[in-house]
């Protein structure tokens, strides 16, 4: 498939998801009422539901999906490893530990959870980077160090939870990831990261393309491999940290979406980033809509829906690719 066609299809999927996410939910609103509420009436219950609940939720979902997908795409590139994702550089475990400490041990400071999660995620990445640094970074060494540190940190989380079994439920929505509390202020928190992250990654897409040819070739083409890799990892960590601090551990998007995008648009990072933005945002919005629609009025956390839908779709694409090879 031509990459432009693939991008257009992804974009249509995004548009469809956006429309569905605004019209479906505990009360279903018709397209006519949506347009009227948004552009004409600007008051009343329908306007309130759309403007203060569904639209911010949809935008946060888009930004989070976009950030996590770009983060995963960058990491799979610089680590040259298909299993790389934000969780491999400690973002999920680090944010998880910090959030658990806040929610379980320091309930008085529970409002600090997003900031703590953000710091926990970024600090864990730096620790993993330093632990695997020896005459430079070997990607595989960092992946292994990441897996090891994450296991350790997850053990600490479980240790805390064992001592406070009554508060396990409070942490659950964070560990699974949910958009149900998204507000306009969350948008203003994550938007700068999304915009900066997208701009920087697009500006340096060629550098990542060159890095994909191997360290030696990249070096001989004038790329400072060591520094570049560190900056890319830091950027990926910040993008993912900002996302999980707001919606919880949705790290899974960052693993699957870049793969789907690469299967559809190829390996040129310029298109991978655009595709990740569109599809990452679209998938989170789509799954979140299903989450609150399927079992209404119960809401399934978006993380679960995403795994249930995303994995089979990914496996289907992967089999097609194998047949193609």
């Amino acid at each position: 498939m031509d990459k432009r066609v693939a991008l257009v299809i992804m974009f249509l999927f995004l548009c469809l998801s956006i429309i569905l996410s605004i019209s479906l939910g505990a009360t279903n609103i018709s397209l006519n009422d949506i347009l009227r509420a948004l552009f004409v009436e600007k008051k009343g219950l329908t306007y309130h539901i759309i403007y203060n609940i569904r639209v911010p939720r949809m935008i946060v979902g888009f930004l989070v999906g976009m950030c996590l997908s770009i983060s995963g795409a960058i990491l799979q590139g610089v680590m040259r490893n298909s299993l790389a994702s934000p969780s491999i550089i400690g973002v999920s475990s680090g944010a998880g530990l910090a959030a658990t400490i806040c929610i379980v041990l320091l309930p008085a400071y529970v409002y600090l959870t997003p900031i703590a999660a953000f710091a926990g995620a970024f600090v864990t990445t730096i620790i993993i980077y330093l632990l695997s640094y020896k005459n430079g970074i070997r990607p595989l060494r960092m992946v292994l160090a990441g897996v090891a540190v994450s296991s350790l940190v997850n053990a600490l989380i479980n240790l805390i939870l064992i001592f406070f079994p009554d508060r396990v439920a409070d942490t659950l929505s964070f560990t699974i990831g949910s958009l149900s509390l998204a507000t306009w202020s969350d948008i203003w928190v994550i938007l700068p990261y999304a915009v900066t992250g997208f701009t920087l990654s697009m500006l340096f897409s060629k550098t990542l393309n060159v890095l994909m040819l191997g360290d030696e070739i990249a070096n001989s083409l004038g790329v400072n491999v060591e520094l570049t890799r560190f900056l890319f990892i830091a950027l990926a960590s910040l993008l993912a940290a900002a996302s999980v601090s707001i919606v919880g551990l949705l790290g899974f998007v960052g693993l699957i979406v870049p793969h789907i995008v690469k299967l559809l648009v190829g390996s040129d990072y310029k298109y991978v980033y655009i595709g990740s933005t569109i599809l990452g945002g679209g998938i989170v919005i789509f799954c979140d809509t299903l989450s609150r629609f399927v079992a209404a009025p119960m809401e399934i956390p978006v993380g679960i829906t995403m795994a249930l839908l995303g994995v089979p779709f990914f496996l289907y694409l992967l089999r097609g690719r194998i047949a193609h090879d």
């Binding site: 040819l213 191997g214 030696e216 001989s220 040129d268």
Partner: protein, 257 residues
Amino acid sequence: MIKVRDLEVKYDKKVALKNINIDINEGEITTIIGPNGCGKSTLLKALSRNLKYSSGSIEIHDKDLKKIKIRELAKSMALLPQAPSVPYDISVKELVSYGRYPFIGFGKRLNRKDYEVIDWALEKCDMKGYKCRKVATLSGGERQRVWIAMALAQEPKILLLDEPTTYLDISHQFEVLELIKEINRKTETTILMVLHDINQAAKYSSDIVILKKAELIGQGAPEKTITSQTMEEVFNLKGKFLENSHYPHFIPEMSYR
């Protein structure tokens, strides 16, 4: 052109190269030979700044290698490592265009001169007709020609090649070496490569560097360096040389270890 003085390279504590003193002449083909693990690739990596050296110095055109900016170096030196990886969907033209990466200003696109150089490099390597093919679908020999074209697109004064004939069958080996010779002759690019095949090294190079166990055994013209004495001392091989050959051609008969 390249001056190496008292070079020493260590991997952790293991010495990979020591007391290396060589001069690489401008516009010539120099080949490094030696048994497995003698430090051939290490020397190439140190010269291309892919590896830090612990002591000694390397000068390129009287400039200290450590003081040359990596992007500047990329405009005068190209490296083709062993078995580089190729993204599955990249086309010949795209791959060769990466050779222009060090020349493109930040945020800029390829300009007309870049495209001319890319076309010239493709033409030199006889790959013009393959522009739109995916590199992954090419044969080993064609793929190697594409990599060489990418290196040429850097318009290098020095081209480093690490075992450019590995994994190729005999006719493709010949083709690649002929191409390297032609590039050297027509563009006066200085070529420094690592080869396993002693006879190919003797045929195509004007200068041979012999390494064994991290140390320099000798440097000089093939007739002077590739002798029955070196074959015995360095490779533990007894044999004879083909008569009436323009260059030393060794035929092994017995190995003793």
